[in-house]
């Protein structure tokens, strides 16, 4: 077999997520790492490869855990980085560079304990050509494409507002979700405007937390306490470092490009997918994701969600942990999207859907800057 199988053998989040002023960013990495390695029934001595973003970065995390790895990946391309780490880990394991790879995320996004400061270099392209116009993080940039999409495809304010309404129905079933009270479109539209057309409830949370994964070869699947989650296909792509330079404001080229690679490698079509996670920093992102992956036609994503297709009881369960809009969002949410995909395939999710065989996880980095896509399966293909 030219491409031997790779599995996620361990997956766990920090003990708590939400507001954790008593744990630093590094501390969150370490707690998540300990939990994931324990989940795989392993010890730190079994780990020979490490991947995470800076800071604190793979050298610091490995050292703090007493790991001296043979393989190091510090790919840091925003909140989707952990999906890319999984993809790179698959390649490393196939190449024989490492056998048991630990991927960690920890971020004191809300409490900012031991967290690197947000600082934009005013000599960088974004510093010269965007920051002078009063941008201030994702709420002022990630949101800009939406009005163009609304004009081109007739997406209504009510349909956009329905995205958090649908996801809150999943969060209501999840005791770990930060926001669990059922909300209506009227509630969303009555929440304060952050950056028109976005209201507060159409923007993600800002929380503290972490998660980690243990990735290894499928021929060891029987060695672990939990059922294996097979990595059937992966994709990655980058598009733009500045939202103003996105090729087309009505679609994510990076989402589409990464998705095609992942679906092709896995040998699946959208009809095979029975659970889906799409990075949802803002309400429009799941709409762009559904369209980029081909679940619906262009311009149809908003209506698809508003018609109830992605909420409990719908044909395509989407963001079943409640998503970044209701569950948690540390700043780099991708790790939590993977964790929920793993839980659903294992059958251990809080809002468990009916025995999904295939879960697809679509990650976003920056503001439509990068993407990673994972196809996770209960069975090897």
């Amino acid at each position: 077999m030219s491409n031997p199988g790779v599995i996620i053998a361990g997956a766990a989040e920090t003990d708590e997520i939400g507001r954790l002023p008593h744990i630093s960013t590094l501390g969150l990495h370490l707690e998540a790492a300990r939990n994931a390695v324990a989940d795989a029934g392993l010890t730190m001595r079994d780990i020979d490869g490490i991947a995470t973003v800076s800071g604190p970065g793979p050298v610091q995390v490995a050292h703090a855990l007493g790991i001296y790895p043979d393989w190091v990946d510090g790919t840091g391309v925003g909140g989707t980085s952990f999906l890319l780490h999984v993809r790179h880990a698959v390649a490393a394991i196939r190449a024989g560079y490492a056998k048991t790879i630990l991927i960690t995320h920890g971020e004191s996004g809300r409490s900012r304990v031991g967290a690197p400061p947000y600082r934009l270099d005013l000599a960088s392209p974004a510093g010269q050509f965007e920051a002078p116009y009063g941008t201030l993080g994702p709420t002022t940039t990630f949101t800009i494409p939406a009005l163009r999409y609304m004009k081109e495809y007739g997406l209504t304010h009510e349909q956009l507002a329905y995205v958090p309404v649908a996801q809150r129905q999943w969060a209501a079933k999840n005791p770990r979700a930060m926001f669990r009270d059922i909300i209506t479109v009227e509630d969303v539209l009555a929440s304060r405007i952050v950056a028109y057309p976005f209201h507060l409830l159409e923007c993600c949370l800002v929380t503290d937390g972490g998660g980690a994964l243990v990735v290894t070869s499928a021929d060891r699947a029987a060695d672990f306490p939990k059922p294996p989650v097979h990595v059937l296909g992966t994709g990655e792509a980058s598009e733009t470092p500045m939202i103003s330079q996105m090729v087309d404001f009505t679609e994510s080229r990076a989402f589409r490009q990464a998705g095609r690679r992942a679906f092709t490698e896995a040998g699946i079509t959208v009809a095979d997918v029975n659970h889906l996670m799409i990075y949802d920093a803002f309400a429009h992102v799941p709409i762009y994701g559904l369209e980029a992956l081909g679940f619906v036609g262009k311009g149809e994503g908003g209506a698809f969600i508003a018609e109830g297709n992605t909420e409990p009881g719908g044909v395509l369960p989407l963001n079943t942990n409640g998503g970044g809009l209701s569950y948690t969002h540390t700043g780099m949410y991708g790790m939590f999207a993977i964790q929920e995909g793993v839980r659903q395939i294992r059958g251990e999710a809080a809002a468990q859907v009916d025995g999904p065989d295939i879960s697809v996880v679509l990650g976003n980095g920056g503001m439509f800057a990068t993407s990673g896509v994972l196809v996770l399966g209960k069975q090897a293909r």
Binding site: L120, L122, A123, P125, G127, Q128, F129, E130, A131, P132, Y133, G134, T135, L136, T139, T140, T141, T143, I144, P145, A146, L147, R148, K151, R192, I193, V194, A195, Y196, P197, F198, M242, I243, S244, Q245, F249
Partner: protein, 149 residues
């Protein structure tokens, strides 16, 4: 403690720092011109400034003065101001499409920051604003020009 001393010192608006590759753009703005680049091989105009054509990879590129005409491609009206923008909030952060093709981020001046006043695809023209030692291109409704003249 007086009330005034409790107010943190106002942080200024971000002032861009030109690099050798972008200096002609900022020099153009200081001269009241919107200068961008185009490829001499494939003729594609492009923005932001860089030494290679993003369409064909050619290094044979030139600066030219754009018409300054643009249309409104998309925007947000930001209610959580960046440092220095407190007095401006809410304010529009827009992306405009230049008549020559490329898009750029900007602010919209001379027009109310409301959804009613800001219609996508409305015609705009470049204007300039001083920001520290740098002159910053901004955009304003094209109709303001005819009212002025």
């Amino acid at each position: 403690m007086s009330p005034a001393s409790a107010v943190p010192p106002a942080r200024p608006k971000a002032v861009p720092i030109p690099t050798p590759e972008t200096q002609p753009y900022w020099d153009g703005a200081a001269a009241g011109e919107l200068r961008i680049q185009r490829c001499r091989d494939c003729r594609q105009a492009y923005f932001y400034p860089r030494p290679l054509c993003p369409s064909c990879g050619s290094g044979d590129v030139e600066w030219f003065t754009a018409s300054g005409r643009a249309t409104l491609y998309s925007y947000v009206i930001n209610h959580r101001p960046a440092p220095g923008f407190e007095a401006d909030a809410p304010y529009a952060i827009a992306v405009v499409q230049l008549a020559e093709g490329p898009r750029m981020m900007t602010n919209l001046v001379g027009v109310a920051p409301t959804p009613e006043a800001l219609e996508l695809d409305m015609e705009l023209r470049v204007a300039f604003e001083q920001r520290g030692d740098v002159t910053l291109p901004v955009f304003t409704p094209a109709e303001v020009e005819s009212e002025d003249s």
